[in-house]
């Protein structure tokens, strides 16, 4: 691998930003390994967050899902499930960390803006300007069964609601003018008269009238993250987000094409090209040699896609219960059953299964893959980078200096010590190449991400 001459690239001074995504709830977290810890014990969250902070990461991320996934007519049993409410967990981490950003994934469909904006603002104050909000939407009535509001939203309305939600949230966060709290106990009142504005909003989704309870934080208000990859999702991100948590960070050309698409949308939305950061989610598998890294990656995949996981994924694709089959044998001979969709949620296949199965058969036949190998190679993909610390550092330097990414949101496959290699081996290599900070220079998440002040 040749070293990129930093003067030849569009962004010679670019620095890589890392976040860590404590996932829970999927089969990418290997729970079967002896070193795998609790997914709910606060010590696990603290260990990951502190490791990330030691590695000068920008942010620690928590996910969200408002109903347990189901398959085969019952709760899905094979994967990690059960996790804490993210703002509650992050408020605890605010007391136990110093610098790292704390990002909550919170849903705009099953929350109300006055309440959620207030909770996020509280986290932002408790962390002295380190809060972020990953804005997600849901439309299905199945999730709505857990809520008094029920499943009330059309698919097309989910981003409309999210956009209106965000507008109300921003109004709540900006409701207190700068210096709106009395400077001394002798003042006329606790808040400066006239400095706290009431928020009145009547739109298609919300009819709200409230007095915000909190002033702005050290970073103004929480940083907005967005992950939707659909056209609507990208538009929403380009208009509203500070950070896009994308799915395009493995292949350089794909990453660059995505970044350019976002920059186009930013211009169209009247925002500066560098108004947001693009942080694709990625797994990072590190070995001392390329061969060792490849072997480790193979172990990771086989541990993630156990025979039972492979059969579960294939059952959902085929629409047939394949649980008795041999996952390490050939693909099932049957054709997929298309019409079936009885109560399989949170794990559903979106494409036409007949087309998918035909593609799988062709590729498995050509490569001599078993069913399990086909699931690994062709099933739900965990995007990742595999290599030596030096090799990965060269590769990431190229990605960031060409503007294909601004960094990565790392998804550890082991909890809680899955970040150790990255922090101890990869970060120093990146620092040596001048593409990673050597100390925190700011105190807020917005500063870590090199974003413009909040508006």
């Amino acid at each position: 691998m040749t070293r990129t001459d930093p003067t030849d690239v569009p962004r010679p001074d670019a620095r890589l930003h890392f976040g860590v995504f404590f996932q829970g709830v999927n089969h990418w977290t290997i729970w079967s390994d002896p070193s795998s810890g609790s997914q709910i014990d606060p010590a696990s969250f603290l260990r990951v967050a502190r490791t990330a902070e030691r590695g000068l990461f920008d942010a620690f991320f928590l996910g969200d899902g408002l109903r347990l996934r189901e398959s085969e007519g019952g709760i899905h049993e094979l994967d990690v499930a059960g996790r804490p409410d993210s703002i509650t967990q992050l408020s605890a981490l605010a007391a136990a960390t110093e610098r790292i950003g704390l990002v909550s994934t919170s849903n705009t469909t099953f929350n109300e803006p006055g309440d959620l904006a207030r909770r996020l603002a509280g986290l932002d104050l408790l962390s002295e300007g380190r809060a972020g909000w990953n804005v997600v939407t849901t439309h299905n009535a199945w999730t709505g069964e857990n809520f008094r509001r029920g499943g009330f939203l059309d698919h097309a309305d989910r981003y409309r609601r999210a956009e209106e939600f965000l507008a109300v949230a921003r109004a709540v966060w900006n409701g207190w003018a700068e210096d709106s709290v009395a400077g001394s106990v002798e003042a006329r009142s606790w808040s400066v008269p006239g400095a706290v504005g009431r928020v009145r909003s009547r739109g298609a989704q919300f009819d709200v009238d409230l007095t915000p309870t909190l002033p702005r934080s050290a970073q103004g208000h929480p940083v907005i993250f967005q992950a939707g990859d659909s056209g609507d999702g990208r538009e929403f991100g380009a208009r509203n987000a500070d950070v896009i948590f994308s799915a395009h960070g493995t292949d350089f050309d794909d990453a660059l094409a995505f970044a350019e698409d976002i920059r186009r949308r930013l211009r169209a939305a009247g925002r500066a090209e560098d108004a947001l950061r693009i942080l694709p989610g990625t797994e990072i598998v590190i070995g001392a040699t390329e061969k060792e890294a490849e072997e480790k990656a193979r172990w990771v995949r086989l541990s993630q896609v156990t025979p039972a996981v492979a059969l579960g994924i294939a059952s959902r694709l085929w629409g047939i219960d394949l649980s008795g089959r041999d996952a390490d044998g050939p693909l099932p001979a049957e054709d997929p059953v298309v019409a079936r969709d009885k109560g399989t949620f949170g794990t559903r296949w979106v494409e036409d299964p007949r087309e998918v199965v035909a593609r799988w058969r062709a590729k498995a036949g050509a490569n001599g893959w078993s069913l399990r190998e086909a699931v690994i190679e062709l099933g739900p993909q965990q995007r990742g980078h595999v290599g030596t610390p030096a090799g990965l550092a060269e590769k990431f330097a190229r990605f960031v200096r060409h503007g294909a990414v601004d960094g990565f949101n790392v998804t550890p496959y082991l909890v809680p010590d899955g970040l150790d290699d990255i922090v101890e081996l990869l970060v120093p290599e990146l620092q040596e190449r001048g593409v990673y900070r050597t100390s925190y220079t700011g105190t807020t998440l917005r500063e870590h991400l090199e974003l413009a002040p909040a508006v």
Binding site: S32, G74, P84, A94, F110, G122, F147, T211, T213
Partner: protein
């Protein structure tokens, strides 16, 4: 049955119980909303020997409409405080008048996880119509309807805590199963105004169920661990406690609500109250005791209450002034005289309160125990 020594709770919202308490605070007004402030007050309460802090809350800011006072959400403060302490119980106020019970359940279960079993919940009610407008929901009008929403919310929350049995995470490598779905349960709650399916998205809390505190009479007593009672005199308070904790379906414990203003080195209780009354009145309530005077008198009052109630919740006039006196002069005396007990390190809040850890009502054994209770 004789009651063991008193357990002590203290309300730490804002700067104190008086609406103008911030005027006598030892910090600038804005400091109230900093993490340092939360951690400091919690440390003082924990070191003093309180078993529990409660944190008042509402979607509406405290203070009058034209003069709002800042307030961070109680769950966020409680989680932060839990991570800054090791023995202290933390009890945010949450109302299910408008909030989603599913979220309330997740938040409190998570608070119990982050605190390793020190979480509690003070069941609240949003009775101001402005809260409905802030939530963007139709107002729940009338005390009966608000009590219904409090009751239904509490039922849903408790059932969701029970919806994961304790051993639902099995991590069975041999069968490739992380969970045992037979140990997870839908709650299938259907009330008058909504339904909730479940199960929870958070594994069962370390205490099984976080401790539930509620004003006596607000929600069915059998759903409450600690009834908050009051009266104009110690005798009346004792009667209220006896009423709340005896008979079928009673709450196991009762705590008396006491407002306290103590003599401090910087001024007597009367002087300090008079100072604050220049700004706002501190209206007495018939359902709370109020003690004003020297520390020794409060020790006598609590001594008188010992045996009649299981604990007290103190509401200090000004936290920065009264907590110091409580720490130095009141609590040490109570502990020496065995009028009150401090929590032991490494125990859950339930243990500190002498409450058993409940089985999930959905376990085979839990269902049997429930059936026994119902037929008793």
């Amino acid at each position: 049955m004789p009651r063991p020594a008193l357990r002590l709770a203290v309300e730490i919202d804002g700067d104190g119980a008086h609406p103008a308490a911030w005027r006598r605070a030892a910090h600038s007004p804005g400091e109230l909303l900093t993490p340092r402030r939360q951690a400091r007050v919690a440390a003082v309460a924990e070191n003093a020997g309180f078993t529990l802090v409660t944190l008042d809350d509402s979607i509406l800011p405290p203070g009058s409409g034209a003069d709002p006072v800042g307030r961070i959400g109680a769950v966020e403060r409680a989680a932060f405080v839990a991570a800054s302490t090791s023995v202290l119980g933390v009890a945010p106020v949450l109302a299910t008048t408008y909030a989603e019970p599913f979220h309330v359940s997740s938040q409190l279960a998570s608070l119990d996880h982050v605190s390793a079993g020190r979480a509690a919940w003070v069941v609240g009610v949003e009775d101001d119509p402005a809260a409905a407008r802030a939530w963007g929901r139709p107002p729940v009008e009338g005390s009966a309807a608000r009590a219904r929403e409090a009751r239904d919310g509490l039922r849903v929350v408790r059932d969701l805590w029970d919806s994961w049995e304790d051993d639902a995470v099995i991590r069975s490598v041999a069968t490739s199963r992380y969970l045992d779905r037979s140990r997870l349960h839908t709650v299938d709650f259907t009330g008058e105004t909504y339904s909730v399916r479940g199960p929870s998205i958070v594994p069962r809390p370390p205490q099984g169920r976080p401790v539930v505190l509620a004003p006596a009479g607000l929600v069915p007593a059998d759903l409450v661990d600690v009834a908050l009672v009051g009266g104009a005199t110690p005798a009346e308070t004792g009667e209220a406690a006896a009423a709340a904790t005896s008979g079928e379906g009673a709450s196991p414990l009762a705590f008396a609500e006491i407002e306290v203003a103590l003599d401090t080195p910087g001024g007597t209780a009367r002087e300090r109250i008079a100072d604050l009354e220049r700004y706002a009145p501190w209206t007495a309530r018939p359902d709370r005791l109020r003690y004003t005077g020297p520390a020794a008198g409060l020790v006598s009052l609590l001594s008188e209450l010992n045996g009649r109630v299981d604990g007290v919740r103190l509401r200090p006039l000004v936290l920065d002034e009264d907590l110091a006196v409580l720490s130095r002069l009141v609590l040490p005396e109570l502990f020496v005289r065995r009028i009150a007990a401090r929590p032991l390190p490494g125990t859950t809040l339930r243990t500190a309160l002498g409450l058993a850890r409940p089985l999930s009502r959905f376990t085979t054994e839990g269902a049997a125990a429930l059936a026994r209770e119902e037929t008793r």
